[in-house]
């Protein structure tokens, strides 16, 4: 369908009421994903990624604004949307533990009305592709998280969807499985120009490596949108440094330091691995002396290519993870 976006939203807002409190999970989200795109939504936990996916997959209604999938309104035209979409969620435990991998997949294929023989062929070929041939006749309750997620990927792709929604599909998976899944998704998309994937993640490497375009979402709002390169260009004028500090110290004071736009920090092997984004080089020495003054020893210090994470830090003042 020329001129129509595969996935689209305008002023999409979603609020939840729980215990008298109103949570604005999505605030006026505008999104346009073209056919053939692998579009990424990058954001920390609680940013609203799952909420957005649920709305596009017809599981949740918008509070205001609209969302469309293949030109169909998610609120009213579910009958047109459901046959052409599918989805996978990270850490998903779908299916029945008592059935084997093959049986579970066959069952799900029936919900899409796929003729038995066609379903069996597709399942077999995808089982090969996902390298779980040896698990095909095992009960799914005996599978590991990674093995299970490969089954979930098959479950979504075997129904021949046009648009696939992947909600943190590599959450908690090992490197090998993640890589397999990413490679497959990319390949699947390239096979047919009419296909589209919307993927959410909070792994910036994944977004950077995989996505054609990325929207950074924070607190229900899209704060930046563009190709990974475009996004990274945004902090050309700024300075981003990485450092490893031991022992761990609290970095809260960075918020008030002049010239510092934001920072992220995570613990890694007993050390603190931090990235700090600054307006320019002039703040670097203040940051370094600040760390030492608070009892932190700087194990390593480097200034390198800006990453998506730095973009995120600049835009929101905090890290992704």
């Amino acid at each position: 369908m020329p001129g129509v976006y595969s996935i689209e939203s305008r002023s999409l807002t979603r609020t939840f009421k729980s215990k008298g409190e109103v949570v604005e999970a999505l605030k006026e989200v505008d999104l346009s994903v073209r056919q053939g795109e692998l579009f990424g939504l990058l954001g920390p936990n609680g940013a609203g990624k799952t909420t957005l996916i649920k709305i596009f997959t017809t599981l949740l209604l918008p509070t205001s604004g609209y969302a469309k999938v293949a030109g169909h309104d998610v609120a009213k035209e579910v009958k047109q949307i459901r046959p052409i979409i599918n989805m996978v969620t990270g850490g998903e435990h779908s299916g029945y533990g008592l059935l084997t991998v093959r049986e579970n997949l066959w069952m799900f294929s029936q919900f899409y009305g796929i003729p038995g023989k066609v379903a069996k062929e597709r399942i077999d070929s995808l089982i090969d592709r996902m390298r779980i041939t040896h698990l095909a006749d095992r009960k799914i309750r005996t599978l590991s998280t990674g093995e299970r997620q490969r089954v979930n990927i098959i479950r979504a792709f075997m129904t021949g969807p046009k648009i696939v929604f992947l909600d943190e599909p590599t959450l908690g998976l090992d490197v090998e499985t993640s890589r397999l899944i990413r490679r497959y998704v990319k390949e699947w998309l390239e096979q047919d120009g009419e296909r589209t994937v919307l993927l959410t993640t909070h792994y910036m490497m994944e977004a950077d490596e995989l996505c054609d375009r990325i929207a950074i979402i924070n607190d229900g709002e899209i704060v930046a949108l563009g190709t990974p390169r475009e996004l990274k260009k945004r902090i050309q004028d700024e300075t981003a440094i990485g450092m490893e500090i031991s022992p761990e110290i609290d970095l809260g004071w960075l918020d008030g330091t002049k010239g510092v736009m934001g920072y992220s920090a995570k613990e890694e092997g007993g050390m603190l691995s931090a990235r700090v984004v600054m307006e320019d080089d002039s703040a670097v020495s203040d940051v370094l002396s600040g760390v030492t003054a608070r009892g932190g020893r700087i194990i390593s210090f480097y200034k390198d290519e800006p990453t998506l994470e730095d973009v995120f830090v600049k835009l929101t003042g905090r890290g992704l993870e």
Binding site: F16, T51, K54, T57, T58, L59, L60, L61, K79, R82, P83, I85, N86, M87, T89, E92, H93, S94, G95, Y96, L98, L99, E103, N104, W106, M107, F108, S109, Q110, F111, Y112, G113, I114, P115, G116, R155
Partner: protein, 270 residues
């Protein structure tokens, strides 16, 4: 509506129940031995009171129908709740088939499994407890049995959405729907004994009239204990089956809409 799609969906959802029923080895044992224990207790109880032989037949008939009733409660009514907890529900909801097909598949698979049990109970009743019954109106009997099942599973479909809307608390309804229901539907005794008012009220549950009609047909000696004429009971059961199925559909649509509005139904841990 795409008929092939929905037929396949029904088959798809029935499949795990059929397989699951046959695959889990502890299954046969529990599901047959268990009802047999209380059936045997009730039979000996009647014997200790020197009750006429056909009363022992009532117990076996009640036991057979109760296995279906329990399947309606645990395999239908509380099922959506379980599906939500395991994460299947959201996949079902996002798939293109009618959600009634899922319920129908669950019911058919459940009926299959339960029938294996029911037949075993009948065999034990006949060979161990020497229960004898008369099949004088086979067509009427089968019709009543089928329509009773249809109405009962229709009721289960209705409850499936209701329980989900209610949340964890609804779980306890299944407890309420056991012993108290056995009593007011006349599981092991002619419901007429409870008086016409109670028997009438109990007829809201299809089990009551189904049991009463089959009791009259299978044990003609006890025809005097019949509550209503079996033909009339069949008519009422047909009406109630239609009502249950229509309501199941309405509630399902309501549940789906409510779920999409609140976002609560598809989420684990409300």
């Amino acid at each position: 509506m795409n008929i092939m799609l929905n037929l396949r969906a029904v088959r798809g959802r029935a499949y795990p129940r059929v397989i699951g029923a046959l695959r889990e080895p502890s299954w046969m044992l529990w599901e047959v031995v268990l009802p047999m224990l209380s059936i045997a207790a009730f039979i000996y109880f009647y014997r200790s009171l020197n009750a006429p032989k056909e009363f022992e037949g009532f117990v076996v008939l009640g036991g057979v129908m109760t296995t279906y009733w329990l399947n309606v409660l645990w395999g239908m009514a509380s099922q959506f709740y379980w599906e939500k907890e395991t994460g299947n529900l959201q996949l079902y909801l996002a798939a293109p088939m009618s959600k009634m097909s899922i319920l129908a598949g669950m019911a058919l698979g459940g009926i299959f499994g339960t029938t294996v049990r029911a037949v075993s109970i009948i065999f034990i009743g006949v060979f161990v407890f020497e229960i004898s019954f008369v099949i004088s109106h086979p067509f009427l009997l089968v019709a009543i049995f089928m329509v009773t099942l249809l109405a009962m599973y229709g009721m289960g479909m209705m409850f499936a959405s209701l329980y989900l809307l209610w949340g964890r608390e609804a779980w306890n309804m299944n407890a309420l729907f056991q012993e108290p229901i056995y009593f007011i539907t006349g599981q092991n005794f002619p419901v007429k004994a409870l008086g016409p008012t109670v028997a009438m009220a109990a007829s809201v549950i299809p089990l009551t009239l189904g049991l009463d009609a089959m009791r009259q047909l299978l044990f003609p000696e006890a025809a005097g204990w019949g509550f209503l004429d079996p033909m009339l009971e069949l008519g009422i059961l047909c009406v109630s089956a239609v009502i249950m199925l229509v309501m199941a559909r309405q509630l399902l649509a309501f549940m789906e809409r409510k779920g999409r509005e609140t976002g609560k139904l598809t989420m684990r841990w409300q």
